[in-house]
């Protein structure tokens, strides 16, 4: 299977290029559009939380961006993965190729967009803050672990949405809910002590906390932190992969 997937590497590249072309064809700003959405969110939340709610977090914008961009990677991949098999029904019905390449291409496309946003916003952060924490060297490692986690979620969601079409809408509602249950615009310590354990059951809480550690607090993640993240990533991949393998033979019939 892995061998098959490697042989189809060119297909993965072609599919990601297709998504990029289709999304930005005929728009003058091109890839810059992918920066507009995070920019708008950063502005809205910064104004709302810093000047209206007056949240007690120093350099709030820096804190916000540390958690918001990785959340965006997760949320946009999950949303796009629900339709990644359905929009390619024509290909699935007519050609044999490893089916998992379609959700994988969706994740890769969103990862590229995220890295572009990081390349623009992370440097601007440190202009606001005045210094660069050395712990930023952990960023690529954490992003790689998150990419594995997101791939697992995308595999499971893409296959399940073929069987249950309304999962697409449920995912959107669920993501809005999950956004506010993840400490992105607030800090986990602000959550009432009795509820903190429940908040930690959310895998995105673990990821976002580590991102805030390395990009905002300048604290290196502990070995325990890494174990938790790897645990989430491996579990998501196992569950997503199992669901996907069970549905894959019937995709061409069910679509």
């Amino acid at each position: 299977m892995l061998n098959d997937t490697l042989r189809y590497r060119d297909l993965l590249v072609a599919l990601v290029a297709t998504e990029l072309k289709v999304k930005y064809r005929g728009s003058a700003l091109g890839l810059l559009w992918s920066l507009l959405n995070p920019l708008a969110l950063i502005l809205i939340y910064s104004v709302a939380f810093q000047y209206i709610i007056r949240i007690q977090i120093e350099h709030f914008t820096v804190f916000l961006i540390a958690g918001l961009l990785p959340w965006g990677f997760f949320a946009s991949s999950a949303t796009a993965s629900t339709v990644s098999l359905m929009v390619n029904a024509g290909l699935l019905k007519k050609v044999h190729f490893p089916r998992e390449i379609l959700p994988a291409a969706t994740v890769l496309f969103n990862l590229i967009q995220t890295m572009l946003a990081l390349a623009v916003f992370l440097p601007s952060l440190f202009v606001l803050r005045g210094s660069v924490p050395w712990t930023l060297v952990f960023y690529p490692v954490v992003l790689a672990i998150q990419a594995v986690f997101v791939t697992g979620v995308a595999l499971g969601l893409s296959a399940l949405t073929v069987a249950f079409r309304d999962l697409r809408h449920l995912t959107e509602v669920g993501l809005t809910l999950l956004f506010w249950l993840t400490p992105i615009v607030y800090h986990i310590s602000m959550v009432p002590a009795g509820m903190q354990a429940a908040f930690r059951l959310n895998p995105m809480t673990s990821f976002v906390s580590v991102y805030q550690d390395i990009a905002y607090w300048g604290r290196p993640p502990s070995a325990g932190d890494f174990l938790v993240l790897i645990g989430w990533a491996v579990s998501a991949l196992l569950v997503g992969w199992t669901i996907f393998r069970r549905r894959a033979p019937y995709l061409a019939e069910d679509l």
């Binding site: 060119d10 072609a14 390619n88 290909l91 007519k94 050609v95 044999h96 309304d166 999962l167 449920l170």
Partner: protein
């Protein structure tokens, strides 16, 4: 000689889902209200089909609508999976199922050639090498940088056949693809198929045009209700099919009276 395609005791069951519960909501509602519950009916599209195609042989597949011809081709192309039995194919398969391969409507003809090449397992470099020949054969030079959504169905078919025809396949699967496109292009396709035969490519060919089948195929397989009704020399199987069709048509005439009987084309 080892066969290029081996189909052994192949069964394929489709589940027809009446009132299909496509959403979680309808699944849940079905628990409370039996009228909303999904009714499932199984349908055997292929029943115990066994056949093999030798390397370099062209096998024609004929039979009435709904007899399982396209299903058999899909199973050989591995887009669908057997319920029971097995399919073994040796070599690179180039499928031409329905009209065109899967095209992405927003992409241009050129971009689709590259995408389809990689879908069929070719590297980018291989597609680059084949690209000029594909465009020339399709005669779409002037439209190659136009999105495929603006193509006519004939242009779709031409691009699809051109890609499939240039992939240097070991096994070519063709489902009614030649019936699209103008006469000139159809003739070109048939010439191309003759070239493939001469080169030793194994071809499996579904068509309702018995004359084309007779001129292109070495052997013919007749499928009826998902079972192999006859398999052998072209003349014998084609005349068996014509007898069968005649029997079905006169049977229908007797039952319905002459004015209500469907034209033979509808029965096929």
């Amino acid at each position: 000689m080892t066969p290029a395609i081996e189909v052994r005791n192949l069964w394929k069951r489709f589940v027809l889902r009446h009132n299909r519960a496509e959403t979680l909501k309808s699944r849940i509602m079905g628990v409370f209200d039996s009228r909303l519950r999904e009714r499932r009916e199984t349908f055997w599209a292929l029943q115990d089909v066994t056949l093999s195609v030798q390397q370099g042989e062209t096998l024609g597949l004929i039979g009435p609508n709904g007899s399982g011809k396209s299903t058999l081709l899909r199973l050989i192309a591995r887009t669908h999976y057997p319920t029971r039995g097995s399919v073994t194919v040796r070599g690179r398969v180039s499928p031409m199922l329905e009209i065109g391969i899967g095209f992405h409507q927003e992409l241009t003809g050129q971009e689709n050639i590259y995408l389809n090449g990689s879908l069929l397992g070719l590297s980018r470099r291989e597609v680059e090498r084949l690209y000029p020949a594909i465009v020339e054969f399709s005669e779409l030079e002037d439209f190659i940088d136009v999105p495929v959504k603006n193509y006519s169905s004939g242009m779709h078919a031409r691009l699809g056949f051109s890609i499939a025809a240039h992939l240097d396949p070991d096994v070519l699967l063709i489902d009614e693809a030649l019936s699209v496109g103008d006469e000139g292009f159809q003739r070109k396709c048939q010439e191309r198929m003759q070239q493939f035969r001469a080169r030793g490519v194994t071809i499996m060919f579904v068509s309702h045009n018995l004359r084309t089948v007779a001129s292109l195929c070495d052997r013919v397989c007749l499928l009826v209700h998902g079972k192999v009704e006859a398999l052998g020399p072209v003349d014998a199987v084609v005349s068996r099919y014509q007898e069968l069709t005649a029997a079905m048509t006169s049977g229908a005439e007797r039952m319905l009276g002459p004015e209500l009987s469907p034209r033979s084309g509808d029965v096929l």
